[in-house]
Amino acid sequence: MKGINITITVLIASAILSYLVAFIAGFGRLSNNIFIRKFTGFYVEVFRGTSLIVQLFWFYYALPGLFDIHLASDFWAAVIAIAMNYGAYMSEIVRGSILSVAKGQREAATALNMSRFQRMRLVILPQAVRMMLPEFGNYLIQMLKATSLVSLVGLTDILYHGDIFRSTHLSLAPTVYILILVFYFILALPLIWLTRWAEKQSSKGVASE
């Protein structure tokens, strides 16, 4: 079936961008600078507190109309909406994981005279990332499913092609939707395995209290 490549490229692009956003916002919320902290906190609450589909429409219809901001293409409008939304959720995971690395780890690193940056890079982050992995995996699966919303702004993903096909073969509607479900599930399978693997990894090598 056509459209799988669109679904996959939207997923990959939003995943990469959302992890990036998650780390930037996660660190922002831990910053010593109160303005950065407040600003990222505001961003996270706004994007967590409103619906993804409305955000998608905003990036697609409202921004160009209101401010004459055009986000390169439909593809990027969709990707940025998904990435900003999931990035907001995942920034909380980044923040929480960093905070849950045991206090003794930071102290031991200080006792070895590491700088703030070295403590983060060599001691805290390697352990925090292990804690983040399983949750990141879960969100990746959710993101896959969220990509189906891009059919609403005209991207020709699996669901879009399915809908078109159904409108010309009305009697086949149940079969078409079953097929679409199967496609999503097949796409999700490797991600589920990846998450399982990440869970195993994360149980090793972390000191938390």
Partner: protein, 256 residues
């Protein structure tokens, strides 16, 4: 007495409304072995944590090897130290913790190598040699590639000591290093500390509840009570011939 390696001048420390240390004056000579004893809550651990820069004094000054630790001089005035200054001064200090605090994502060898390489810029090969040598000294030469989770408490604590020693500090701080260990593992850790103490050139400050051990290795025993130094002197003076009621009632709890 030789020029002291660390000096506390009227150091106070409060946590919220609770004043834990009420004016500590203490000098530690190079290579001196000092045991800090006292009831829990008397502030012993806080004293060494301030020296490791993990806790900031509320008032007073600490001088390490001639340099202010928590302050720096600027236009003739003392101002609070910045991160750069702290790093410069605390390089002389090493610490071993009650709960080991090994880095769980690194092998035993990496635990020892990470700081010399990244903090001191020691070439990797040399850092490796130094670490292996130190791990052999604490009796773990055959565990280099194990991870902390594979070791017993006593072994972990010995790794923690090797990790601190590789940095070649002038002062080593021991924060109740045997308190979290099963009784049968305490001996092996004390044995290693004894060996380190015998080598001599490094000053050591030990917060401990092991009175026999303190008597054995300390040049001086300091008894803390309610945030103040209540008694100090040679192990014989403090542990055997003191007239202080508080001290004797504290010590009586350790005699069976």
């Amino acid at each position: 007495m030789a020029k002291p390696i660390a000096v506390y001048n009227d150091v106070h420390k409060s946590f919220g409304d609770v004043e834990v240390l009420k004016g500590i004056d203490l000098e530690i000579a190079p290579a001196e072995k000092v045991a800090l004893i006292g009831p829990s809550g008397s502030g012993k651990t806080t004293i060494i944590r301030m020296l490791m820069t993990l806790e900031q004094p509320t008032s007073g000054t600490i001088v390490v090897d001639g340099q202010y630790l928590w302050h720096m001089e600027k236009n003739g005035e003392l101002v609070p130290a910045n991160e750069k200054h702290l790093r410069q001064v605390r390089g002389d200090i090493g610490m071993v913790f009650q709960h080991f605090n090994l880095f769980p994502h690194m092998s035993i060898l990496e635990n020892c190598m990470v700081a010399p390489i990244n903090v001191k810029g020691v070439p990797k090969k040399e850092a490796r040699e130094r670490s292996v040598e130190m791990l052999e000294k604490v009796g773990l030469g055959d565990k280099l590639d194990d991870y902390p989770s594979q070791l017993s408490g006593g072994q972990k604590q010995r790794v923690a000591m090797a990790r601190a020693l590789v940095m070649r500090p002038k002062i080593m701080l021991f924060d109740e290093v045997t308190s979290a260990l099963d009784p049968e593992l305490v001996g092996e850790v004390l044995e290693v500390i004894r060996d380190i103490a015998k080598e001599g050139e490094m000053a050591m400050v030990l917060v401990t509840h092991e009175m026999d051990f303190a008597r054995d290795i300390a040049d001086r025993v300091v008894f803390l009570d309610e945030g103040r130094i209540a008694e100090q002197g040679t192990p014989e003076q403090v542990l055997e011939n003191s007239e202080s009621e508080r001290l004797n009632s504290f010590l009586s709890r350790f005699r069976s």
